[in-house]
């Protein structure tokens, strides 16, 4: 029993890592006033960029950089449409998601001829698990041994990074000048403008931050979690991250809990597949799968608490006449 719990938590962390990164990306963007349903597309595009680059150059670090660059590029496209040209943020997001889905497969086929997949990555071209010091030594110690060697040790660097980024993110958002201005831009851009700060440039910078984080999330999927890119491998993770962002009420630490919860549900769903539970019987996997979405809908509707987003979200900033 204890072992299963540890294993489920272990799986939770692995599933939650890209969600955390993507949700925090959404947090930067939405806190500055830009709705970001393009997370999905950015994850997908950067997953492809990471795997393709790692496969061609043999360097996983270059893969990560390429992933971040790709994602930032898409974020800039989003910004160009919604900030500079005051386009609809949702339409722009939909376009980016479609673009990523189509372009990754098209370019993948052209470059690798594997029907859109990248060649499987070797160990050196991936982020591999890190065994923390002493993990093997105390693996057999009861309780703590398993906890340390399975749950805490043995993840790849990006998992640790995603957990580390949460406090960093919190610190940037709430403890720095940039964070203060960013939050102000999402709440009342007029206040920012009259204080002599450019709202557009601020929002662009927020999108760059978002791009970098989704880039890491994408790289995680194709070069850490799996060994290579397969078409549509983001599989709705961007939307789950968006749900977690709303679920965490646009605050870093609650967002982390939201991602862990959704990751946990995912891990449970796999674990419970076909398993008979006492009294309840078999729980359909799908019932657990939809929980993130159902919970988010209920929250948005105010049935469980209230999620109020940044006030000026989704509205292109126009200097009032």
């Amino acid at each position: 029993m204890y072992e299963s719990i540890i294993l489920i938590l272990d799986a939770t962390l692995r599933v939650a890592a890209p969600l955390i990164l993507a949700a925090l990306a959404g947090l930067f963007s939405e806190r500055s006033g830009i709705v970001n349903i393009a997370l999905e597309g950015k994850i997908l595009a950067s997953a492809f960029a990471a795997a393709a680059t790692a496969s061609i150059t043999g360097s996983v670090t270059l893969g990560l950089l390429a992933a971040m660059a790709t994602s930032v590029l898409l974020a800039m496209l989003h910004g160009f449409a919604c900030i500079t040209h005051r386009g609809d943020q949702i339409v722009s997001g939909v376009a980016i998601n479609m673009l990523a889905a189509g372009l990754t497969v098209t370019l993948g086929r052209y470059w690798f001829g594997l029907g859109g997949q990248t060649p499987p990555l070797s160990q050196g071209e991936r982020f591999t698990s890190i065994t923390l010091p002493g993990a093997d030594a105390i693996a057999d110690v009861p309780v703590i041994g398993l906890l340390y060697s399975e749950l805490i040790s043995g993840h790849n660097i990006l998992v640790y990074l995603s957990l580390l980024i949460v406090p960093v993110c919190w610190w940037i958002i709430f403890k720095t000048r940039f964070g203060l201005r960013l939050r102000a831009a999402g709440e009342n851009p007029h206040a920012v403008d009259t204080a002599g700060i450019s709202v557009a440039w601020l929002r662009y910078r927020a999108l760059i931050c978002a791009g970098i984080l989704t880039g890491i999330a994408g790289a995680y999927l194709s070069t850490a979690h799996s060994a290579g890119f397969v078409p549509n491998m983001s599989a709705g993770k961007g939307y789950i991250a968006l749900a977690a962002l709303i679920f965490g009420k646009w605050k870093p630490v609650p967002v982390l809990w939201g991602c862990l919860l959704f990751g946990f549900l995912d891990a449970m769903a796999i674990r419970l597949q076909g398993a008979e539970l006492p009294f309840i019987g078999e729980i359909p996997v799908q019932a657990i799968e939809i929980l993130p979405y159902v919970l988010t809908v209920l929250l948005l509707a105010g049935f469980i608490g209230r999620a109020v987003g940044p006030k000026s979200i989704g509205v292109p900033y126009v200097k009032s006449r």
Binding site: G87, I96, N97, E289, V297, F303
Partner: protein
């Protein structure tokens, strides 16, 4: 913006065309990037989509889907609502159609089943739109987010039903049994056959005609009824609509029910016409394409028909492309589609000013020419 000088047709025809041209120009760049000559590709696509009867049939089979989802997005858009949930509404609509067909195909003749499946597709689709609509109107939650979430919920629900409930006994594949032919929509080739014409066999079926009827009905609704007036008023100016005594909350629900019903009708084509059984994933992104169709079609049923045929050509032509060009497949079409959404939607404001300036410039030039001519 000095719009008084710009003739209306510039906004209605020229600007959308320029936007599409931009999208195609960027698509061409991507074609070149994957070593495909865009002109050859375009030729292949056009001949593949329109060059022979079966191709034409496929083109219009795809267009049928786009008309339904395009109309669904357009009706909601007219009221200022962004229904991004066409995908899920069509999926659940298909469930309705499938249940009716599976339940009644042994007992009723086609002409009795058709009205029931039509009703079921609309009712199921509308139901799936009702909850987000209610939550938007009465609980203030954002319809875009809720409809996205409902797409995923619909998807999981269908997986569950197909795997556990509706699959055939003793079979692992998540598909229902094939409907009896009494339930299946007649193909276009059969319909023209009744009138003594012949047409190659293709998936194009009766639902294309139903889609055209829906276009007329939606046009009538939006432009020839008081409800359409209310819908457009709310979309154009919520404050004026309120002044005009229009009940916002009730209208949100009504509009979303109509929108969901239109999405649901897509399943007539996919389930009752093409697939002839219930299976997974038959909506295949058509709901999202509806957004592109609606944007190019400028929210107008006639524009939506044109845009749907355009996308039909892209889909069918795209399928043909992959035979001739090993470097591309249908995913390329999604890129084209994405660029169309980008330029016709998100960047639609970008080219407004330059186009207007161009016209003012051309106008001035023409006038000075006329003046010169008059002086001479």
């Amino acid at each position: 913006m000095n719009d008084s000088k710009i003739p209306a047709w510039v906004n209605i025809i020229v600007l959308p065309l320029i936007n599409i041209l931009f999208a195609f120009a960027f698509s061409a760049i991507i074609f070149i990037a994957v070593d495909v000559n865009p002109i050859e590709a375009a030729q292949t696509m056009i001949s593949g989509a329109l060059g022979y009867q079966e191709g034409i049939g496929y083109t219009f089979y795809y267009a049928t889907n786009f008309i339904f989802t395009g109309l669904a997005v357009a009706v909601a858009f007219s009221a200022g609502l962004f229904n991004i949930g066409g995908e899920g509404q069509a999926y659940i609509g298909g469930l309705g159609v499938g249940l009716v067909c599976l339940g009644l195909d042994h007992t009723l003749p086609f002409w009795a089943i058709l009205p029931i499946t039509m009703f079921a597709s609309m009712a199921f689709g509308a139901l799936w739109a009702f909850i987000p609509a209610y939550l938007q109107a009465y609980r203030g939650s954002h319809i875009v987010i809720t409809t996205i979430m409902f797409n995923f919920i619909a998807s999981s629900l269908m997986v569950y039903l197909m795997v556990n409930v509706l699959n055939q006994e003793g079979q692992m594949a998540p598909v229902s049994r094939v409907f009896e032919s009494s339930a299946v929509l007649p193909g276009f080739h059969e319909i023209v056959g009744w009138f003594g014409f012949s047409f190659s066999e293709s998936p194009m079926n009766l639902s294309f005609l139903i889609a055209l009827v829906c276009c007329v009905l939606v046009w009538l609704l939006l432009w020839r009824t008081r409800w359409g007036y209310a819908i457009r008023a709310m979309g154009a100016s919520p404050s004026a609509a309120e002044y005009g005594g229009i009940n916002r909350k009730r209208l949100i629900i009504i509009v979303m029910l109509i929108s969901g019903a239109l999405s649901g009708l897509l399943s007539l084509n996919e389930v009752q016409g093409y697939g002839q059984q219930l299976k997974l994933g038959f909506v295949a992104g058509y709901g999202f394409t509806g957004i592109a169709v609606c944007l190019i079609g400028r929210n107008h049923p006639f524009g939506i028909i044109l845009a749907s045929v355009l996308f039909g050509i892209l889909y069918q032509g795209g399928a043909e492309l992959s035979f001739d060009f090993p470097n591309i497949d249908r995913e390329m079409i999604q890129v084209v589609q994405a660029l169309v959404v980008l330029f016709s939607g998100a960047l639609s404001l970008m080219l407004v000013r330059p186009t207007e300036r161009l016209f003012v410039y051309l106008d001035a030039k023409k006038q000075s020419k006329n003046q010169l001519a008059a002086e001479a």
